[in-house]
Amino acid sequence: MGQQQGAYFVPTKSSWPFVAAVVMFTTMFGASHWLSAQPSDTSFGKTVLTIGIVGVLAMFFGWFRSVIRESLAGNYNDQVDRSFRMGMLWFIFSEVMFFGAFFGALFYARMFAVPWLSGEGHGVLTNQFLYPSYTGGWGAAGGNGPAHIGGNFETVTAWGLPLLNTLILLTSSVTVTIAHHALKSAHRGRVLVFLGLTVLLGALFLYCQAHEYMEAYKELNLTLHSGVYGSTFFMLTGFHGLHVTLGTIMLAVIWFRVLKGHFTKEHHFGFEAVAWYWHFVDVVWLGLFMFVYIL
């Protein structure tokens, strides 16, 4: 009777999934009531939303704590490890598709919607009847559409903060890889240094991004309301920033787990999952840098 003959691991009952469903519902319920309420009485929605978010955070904390305990108790065999890996990879794939929708919107707006509105291709009549004075263009030239929504604006140049942010993220991908190799050769000190550096680089990226947003709003008049240019710009970089935030938090958690000696050179799925996630965030950024900032 051994592992080889196939003793499977089936986890024990847990109330976390049910709790998770409840707090997710609370969050969404609160958010939707906040948005759909009259501006004068949003307090109900906001309160429920806050409770929901706190609940979600508590749920993550509790659920992951119990998973980590089980992992440390050695409950997870190779098969479970493989399931976790597959789970993480397919999750990242789903995230890629999510970003795909927004990149698709960007390409479509730029390649089709705006040119058609300005009279290209089969958009001649639309242009003549609806927007005869609109000449199209992207960025500051006409990226906020024929109605000039949001007023004049300027775009963020690629070669300032965005370039710096590219270098920051690329470096952080290198440091996390060095940390991974260090983990595999069981140099815990080096892991802590390089993983710590990765966390700092992530935080630095977020700082620069926040700075860029402030500049955009205050000095460039580039806002979420700046027509389809502003919409795609802020939604793409915003969702990316959200993912960097999440990734940085996950890296920080992993740093503490390394500190506590949770990982061995053979067993460190938690570390690898976060590293994959971090690389994914990095690749999305390269897409953004290319298509949102440079081109």
Partner: protein, 537 residues
């Protein structure tokens, strides 16, 4: 020793007795499968009651019962509830119950996530259905949620967040199914020995992970356009409402295959059993499913022929769409060939499966007609489309779910259902569903638009026939509930382990009812005992 360390002995032998612990904290694929199936059945009746309102209103021309705005809420909610609440969860429930049994796994790969996937669903639908009682009313812009119309009604935020929740649930469910199939198969259960149902779910799960996030993106843009001042779908700001349609249908067309591929899998299990022959062309069946899934990503704009696409796009999407008929034809051909020369018997699951083959094919043919771009200018947004998708979804997806329920019910409950009442259910369903939907083809060809509470008197007769069919089809489903209740609690007739004389595959080697835990030690795979006989690689 390792055995003891990796098992939890508390729930080793049977289901926990505490109700809350058993159902809310479950990590058992059978219990979670049951939850999904019961949930789907409840949603089926809620969505069905909306359909009854629609058909009652359309019984006669003129406004009869409800206000137009409420009518629009009914069409919208009917579709959302049926698609996301009834059909999809029913397939997930069947997958949960059967995939581990079919591949010799002890459970799903990620049992707790499995439980989360389920429990999100009732909450998501509570959020969506609650809008019916809100001041602004439920979403009324159609299940496709096209802007700007969909943004003008109430409850946009509730709708968007409910869809986010359903999406999260579907993605986690799909990840779980993929991990289970790729990682939990018993030794010797090679990929090309898996039952076709398992294959169909593997590919469906891939589709789900690929397109549910795209839907999430689309509705997120709706949300920000409505509440945060973005201009994705606003031409004045350089956006385009047609962009929404592209993103939505990039999700939407694979979505319709998400609702039919598992049905293909089910039918490919049932027909061999009752024809007492292995499935004809096992590998061709698998490849057909895979190629349908691939093609489903490049045909989306056939839903948009009338929107003003460039000519090149019309032509491309027309031909790509028609290409799907090839692998679909392969499947229909193989089901028929499986029956050819078999020694067939016609128990209820087989009756539903045969009806599926015939009626789904009718839906496929009307799809082919719709795929002709020039002709679609006439049919688009008419009752012809409504007839098309109800043939593929009701007599296709829903019939397959009913067939699967009759087929596997004895394995789940350990008792036989009443064959007499099963057949009553079948004949009533199959007759009334055609009375309900067949006339809608004529209505559409004559030009009756869909999603309208009133119509020209010229359409009166066919609409009345259709409504009568609708009421009786709805009533026939009460027989189903009766059969289920009887089979679960009343029936005295015990099921054997094999249940059906011609049944093959691992799921029939475990006792009926299937014990709480199965295959804790992987089974030995005997090729001759697999549903599709011996496959050469």
């Amino acid at each position: 020793m390792a055995h003891a360390a990796t098992h939890d002995h508390h729930d080793h032998h049977g289901a926990p007795s505490n109700f809350f612990v058993r159902w809310c904290m479950s990590t058992n694929h059978k219990d979670i499968g049951t939850l999904y199936l019961v949930f789907a059945l409840v949603m089926f009746f809620i969505g069905g009651s909306f359909a009854m309102v629609i058909r009652a209103e359309l019984f006669k021309p003129g406004l009869q019962l409800v206000q137009p705005y409420f009518f629009n809420q009914m069409t919208t909610m009917h579709a959302l509830v049926m698609i996301f609440g009834a059909v999809m969860p029913a397939f997930v429930g069947l997958g949960n119950w059967m995939i581990p049994l079919m591949i010799g796994a002890p459970d799903m790969a990620l049992p707790r996530m499995n439980n989360l996937s389920f429990w999100i669903m009732p909450f998501a639908f509570a959020l969506l259905l609650s809008t019916l009682f809100s001041a602004g009313g439920a979403p009324a812009g159609g299940w496709t949620m096209y802007p700007p119309l969909a943004l003008q009604g109430g409850s946009v935020a509730q709708m968007v967040f409910a869809i986010h929740l359903m999406g999260i649930s579907s993605i986690m469910g799909a990840i779980n199914i993929i991990a289970t199939i790729l990682n939990m198969r018993a030794p010797g259960m090679d990929l090309l020995k898996m039952p076709v149902f398992v294959w169909s779910w593997l590919i469906t799960a891939f589709l789900l992970i690929a397109v549910m996030p795209v839907l999430a993106g689309a509705v997120t843009m709706l949300l920000t356009d409505k509440y945060f001042g973005t201009s994705f779908f606003n031409a004045a700001g350089g956006g385009d409402p047609v962009l929404y349609q592209h993103i939505f249908w990039f999700f939407g067309h694979p979505e319709v295959y998400i609702m039919i591929l598992p049905a293909f899998g089910i039918i490919s299990e049932i027909i061999p059993t009752f024809a007492r022959k292995p499935i004809f062309g096992y590998k061709a069946m698998v490849f057909a499913i895979a190629s349908i899934a691939f093609l489903s990503f490049i045909v989306w704009a056939h839903h948009m022929f009338a929107v003003g696409l460039p000519l090149g796009a019309e032509v491309f999407f027309m031909y790509a769409t028609m290409l799907i008929a090839v692998p679909t034809g392969v499947k229909v051909f193989n089901w028929v060939s499986t029956m050819w020369g078999g020694s067939m018997t016609f128990e209820t699951p087989m009756l539903f499966a045969i009806a599926f083959v015939i009626l789904f094919t009718i839906g496929g043919f009307s799809g082919l007609m719709l795929a002709l771009a020039p002709a679609d200018f006439q049919y688009h947004d008419t009752y012809f489309v409504v007839a098309h998708f109800h043939y593929v979804l009701v007599t296709g997806a829903v019939f397959s779910i009913i067939a699967a329920t009759y087929y596997w019910l004895p394995k789940w409950t350990g008792r036989m259902y009443s064959e007499f009442w099963g057949k009553m259910h079948f004949w009533n369903s199959v007759i009334w569903v055609n009375v309900l939907f067949f006339p809608q083809h004529f209505l559409g060809l004559a030009g009756m638009p869909r999603r309208i509470p009133d119509y020209n008197v010229a359409f009166a007769n066919f609409n009345m026939i259709s409504s009568i069919g609708g009421f009786l089809f709805g009533a026939s489903q009460l027989i189903f509930v009766g059969v289920l209740i009887h089979a679960v609690w009343g029936s005295k007739k015990k099921a054997t382990d094999r249940v059906w004389e011609g049944a093959k595959g691992l799921e029939w080697t475990v006792p009926s009812p299937a014990p709480f835990h199965t295959f804790e030690v992987p089974p030995v795979i005997n090729d001759e005992e697999l549903a599709h006989g011996h496959v050469d690689h």
